[in-house]
């Protein structure tokens, strides 16, 4: 029988999604539902003199208009908290409705409730807010300068935290003795996540039971329930039910606890009727947490043979106007810890200053910190190769951590558990036919015309943050384990409850494969439930490429517990000792005597009838696990971008994109490849097109899809994928993570390729996105055009 683990079975999610039957949050309606629309600040920084809601309230069809003062009067806390604490971090309060000062364009100041969404929007325009505009700062480095406008009384010089990692003295000592020192200044461009489904919430408060139910666009319903209870609403946790129905993509943006969803809940509690809020695209772009936005200075020291001696990184990381849920985590422990890349670097020091600016709060966007780190090191590797006259492949090989050096302790806290970087690089080079490409490049350089560029990114990712005790010691106000329940019904079919919460990743399919494989049953007999705090024991959710490695492992452990209990019962029924009973392909039998067997179905029925159970064994056949991994997992690989640059126009045309990834064992290759495709597209988009731009007044100039360049189909190519398999040594499935590899690897591969194409102009570095204008200007400013 072919194993269901490792096979590309079609997704069971799809039939409802391809027919329009899938129910997303905004598809849901409840009787007597009111529509909420939020009044937002048009100023990036202003004091609120007054808010006049009278005209809006008087509009026919308007039920109520509330401001921050109303929330205060209600006694509800009405704030959103931060979920990651760094030493000495300044945490200014973040009220869900601002009543004194607004700090970014989009900051919520009032909410309108009306009988339909059009009327609600009409009333938004009638709320009169008198603002006293204040000076604005948007740049994460300039905000700390003397004379910059101050955002929060709590944070002097707009500094939220000043964090460091690594050995400064040892790193500083590496530089004076180095044969080569390379330096690069990088502005890692600010991104808007752009899940195609805007955020939404439908809240329904039942007064008679004191029970709140909220359907919302969430990657982690239990985290939202916890924060709603603990910080925002003051309702007991067991009286809140959060449900994530179909969720139309997240990319990190639906992890966080935002004001808007709290406002919808609070309004339902005030009005005693259901309230729905759905963001428009403009609102999504103004209020979904943004990503990246680093100003970085990085230096690498190398010896005469191209061996790295030290790496020094200083980064100003934009936190936006308030600290978002995991905002402080991203540029610190998801960024500084990745700076060793795939390389054996004896000394690393990283200093990150998180700063407040008059911009949308910044938090995770697919990759989150790790693309920024990978970009730094992979750009420096290319600069070093150029300086030393080495091929970019050669300098990487000289510095790779040797396959026999694992587990490898980096200088930036992580211990890589496994890895073998050479084969992935070899395979990628073979796929692109590297030698021929270089020859073709030389030929073209002689001819003039379009320039060929080849760019490598040999990357590592750390995902599935763990174990909980360690992430707690680093500041997490969350655990990073996952729950998984495997419940076998009397007829032998199975329902799985997982704390992971998919929004496109295909957990219904993949997790059924895990259980079917372990229990030796048909995957069609396994149902997977997620995204509902009343059904699932607990969950930390889906982000950080953790679902398979942590959520999947929890399920695998539970399936194994079911088998162990089944073995006890089977041994009793077969009148054998437990040690002699084996379990293969869904059957228990005495070793050597497969003819006389008990199927899992038989055992499930007996377990529930409980007419003849061994002494001390409880009825029922289900198991729940709370799986806390021993370590992160470390996917790695090599990505190569091949492209051409038109020196006349500065246009980049992507020709090929090759990715060889090692994500450990693969449960469903089709789904894994799909995750890699999406990640690559997202990263290429950061490299070439996407950027959130604020003007000097803090107005977001890219608030619409017209201005913010999410790639369209014709801008991309079909990707060429392969993989190596180095199983994760510490989880029961041997899986790592796959959701972010593409986004982590590809920006560096693309930018390295463009800079490679522009070599003859002496261009060393260009900041993303590499728009035709930027490239054209660089060519013309090079003096060699």
């Amino acid at each position: 029988m072919a194993r269901v683990f490792g096979s590309s079975i079609k997704r069971r999610e799809d039939p409802s999604l391809i027919t329009g039957a899938g129910q997303y949050t905004d598809d849901l309606k409840l009787p007597n539902m009111a529509y909420a629309a939020i009044v937002r600040s048009p100023h990036a920084h202003a004091r609120i003199r007054s808010i006049d809601t009278s005209k809006a309230t008087a509009l026919d069809g308007v039920t109520a208009v509330f401001t921050g003062e109303d929330i205060k009067k209600s006694g509800t806390p009405g704030v959103v908290p931060v979920g990651w604490l760094l030493p000495d971090m300044k945490i200014p309060p973040h009220p869900v409705l601002a009543s004194e000062t607004v700090r970014y364009v989009g900051d919520a100041v009032a909410v309108v409730l009306a009988e339909d969404r059009y009327r609600a929007q009409d009333a938004v325009d009638l709320v009169e807010v008198d603002y006293d505009p204040l000076a604005v700062v948007t740049n994460p480095a300039k905000t700390v300068e003397e004379g910059a406008p101050q955002l929060h009384a709590e944070a002097a010089n707009n500094i939220a935290f000043d964090w460091e990692l690594g050995d400064k003295t040892k790193t500083d000592e590496a530089f004076p003795k180095a044969a080569h020192v390379l330096k690069v200044n990088i502005r890692n461009n600010r991104l808007i996540p752009q899940a195609i489904e805007p955020r939404a919430a439908l809240a329904s408060y039942d007064d008679s039971k004191g029970q709140l139910t909220v359907w919302m666009t969430s990657q982690n319903p239990h985290i939202h329930r916890l924060l709603m209870s603990l910080a925002s609403l003051g309702l007991p946790e067991h009286k809140i039910r959060v449900i994530a129905p179909e969720v139309g993509g997240g990319f990190g943006s639906k992890i966080h606890h935002y004001p808007d969803e709290v406002i919808a809940c609070w309004c339902s509690m005030q009005l005693h009727r259901p309230v729905k809020w759905t963001a428009t695209r403009t609102e999504a772009n103004l209020t979904d947490t943004h990503g990246r936005d680093h100003v970085t200075e990085a230096e690498m020291a190398l010896d005469e043979n191209g061996r790295i001696l030290g790496l020094r990184v200083k980064t100003y990381a934009n936190m936006g106007a308030y600290l978002s849920t995991f905002g402080p985590l991203v540029p610190t422990y998801l960024h500084g810890t990745l700076l060793s890349g795939e390389y054996d670097i004896p000394a690393i020091y990283c200093n990150v200053i998180g700063t407040f600016t008059n911009t949308t709060p910044v938090d995770t966007v697919r990759g989150a910190g790790r693309p920024e780190a990978t970009f730094i090191i992979e750009r420096l590797m290319d600069l070093a190769a150029e300086e030393l006259g080495l091929d970019p492949v050669e300098i990487r090989r000289r510095n790779f951590i040797s396959p026999d050096a694992f587990p490898y302790q980096t200088q930036v806290a992580l211990q890589y558990d496994s890895g073998n970087y050479g084969p992935a690089l070899d395979r990628a080079l073979e796929m692109v036919n590297y030698k021929n490409l270089r020859a073709e490049q030389e030929r073209r350089r002689g001819e003039g015309g379009k320039l060929l560029g080849v760019g490598l990114s040999t990357y590592i990712e750390a995902c599935g943050l763990a174990p909980s005790a360690v992430v707690g010691s680093l500041g997490a106000q969350a655990g990073q384990w996952e729950s998984g329940e495997v419940r076998v019904h009397p007829t032998g079919t199975v329902t799985v409850y997982t704390g992971s919460s998919a929004h496109g990743q295909g957990h219904h399919t993949t997790f059924a494969q895990i259980v079917a494989d372990r229990l030796g049953i048909d995957a069609d007999n396994v149902e997977v439930i997620h995204g509902d705090t009343d059904q699932v024991p607990f969950g930390w959710g889906t982000y950080g490429s953790r679902s398979a490695a942590v959520g999947g492992s929890a399920i695998a452990v539970s399936a194994d517990k079911v088998i162990e209990k089944g073995r006890q019962i089977a041994a009793h029924l077969l009148e054998a000792s437990e040690e002699d009973v084996v379990f293969e392909e869904g059957k228990f039998f005495v070793r050597g005597a497969p003819d006389k067997s008990q199927t899992l179905n038989d055992i499930a029925l007996q377990a529930h009838l409980a007419h003849n159970l061994p002494p001390g064994v409880e009825p029922g056949l289900s198991a729940t696990s709370f799986y806390d991994p021993a370590n992160f997992t470390f996917p790695f690989g090599t990505h190569i971008a091949v492209l051409e640059v038109d020196p006349e126009t500065g246009e980049v045309k992507l020709l090929r994109y090759v990715a060889v990834d090692d994500v450990g064992n693969v449960i469903n290759p089709m789904i894994v490849d799909g995750q890699i495709h999406g990640g690559i597209a997202h990263g290429i988009a950061q490299a070439l097109w996407e950027e959130a731009i604020y003007d000097g007044n803090g107005q977001l100039l890219t608030g619409e899809l017209l201005d913010y360049a999410v790639p369209k189909p014709h801008m991309l190519v079909s990707f060429e994928l392969d993989r190596t398999v180095t199983p994760c040594p510490h989880n029961p499935l041997g899986v790592k993570g796959v959701g972010e590899t593409g986004t982590i690897a590809s920006p560096a591969a693309v930018v390295n390729a463009v800079v490679d194409a522009l070599k003859s102009y002496g261009i060393k570095h260009l900041d993303m996105p590499l728009t035709p204008e930027k490239i054209w200007r660089a060519i013309h400013q090079s003096g060699r055009s």
């Binding site: 997704r11 999604l17 391809i18 905004d26 598809d27 993509g249 695209r281 990640g679 189909p713």
Partner: protein, 162 residues
């Protein structure tokens, strides 16, 4: 209020609507056909793509009153007699969707594309779908799905085409 009569997925609906009501809200809220999604309200994402009198249309920038007298097909009306349309089959088979939010619009747009060009090249598919955004798939498997659907339809799949 303005009276309109619209045929949607083969059924005629008579309604009095606010003249400013968008067609997509008419479909989603009046007719409760929530398969057509809204991603941007400005015609840029294509999640709301439907067919109106045989043309591919973005329903977020049409008024319901403009649909008066027209015949509309939404994703809910694409399969016939419980059998999936080849494009639906192909998106499933080739993993052309992840979160599924852009999918109804993407399939409707692809349907229009294949009617105009039953045997498109990869580039023609990519250009033909550039009015529809997907954030999950990088379009890789969407292209494969449309190619596969075209094959199915050319092979004379009895349910091929509209």
């Amino acid at each position: 209020m303005t009276h309109i009569s619209v045929e949607v997925n083969g059924k005629t609906y008579e309604r009095d609507v606010d003249p400013r009501l968008l067609l997509v809200h008419f479909l989603r809220e009046e007719l409760e056909l929530t398969g057509t999604n809204i991603g941007c309200e400005t015609s840029l994402c294509g999640a709301c793509t439907i067919h109106m009198d045989g043309k591919t249309v973005k329903s977020c920038t049409q008024l319901a009153v403009q649909a008066d007298g027209s015949s509309i097909t939404t994703i809910e009306g694409l399969s016939t007699d419980g059998k999936l349309h080849p494009l639906q089959e192909a998106f499933w088979e080739k993993h052309g969707l992840q979160c599924g939010y852009c999918t109804p619009g993407m399939i409707m747009a692809a349907c229009g594309l294949l009617e105009d060009n039953p045997d498109p090249s990869e580039q023609q598919i990519r250009h033909g779908l550039k009015g529809n955004l997907c954030r999950c798939t990088g379009y890789h498997n969407i292209v494969k799905a449309v190619q596969y659907a075209a094959e199915l339809m050319r092979a004379g799949n009895p349910e091929g085409g509209k």
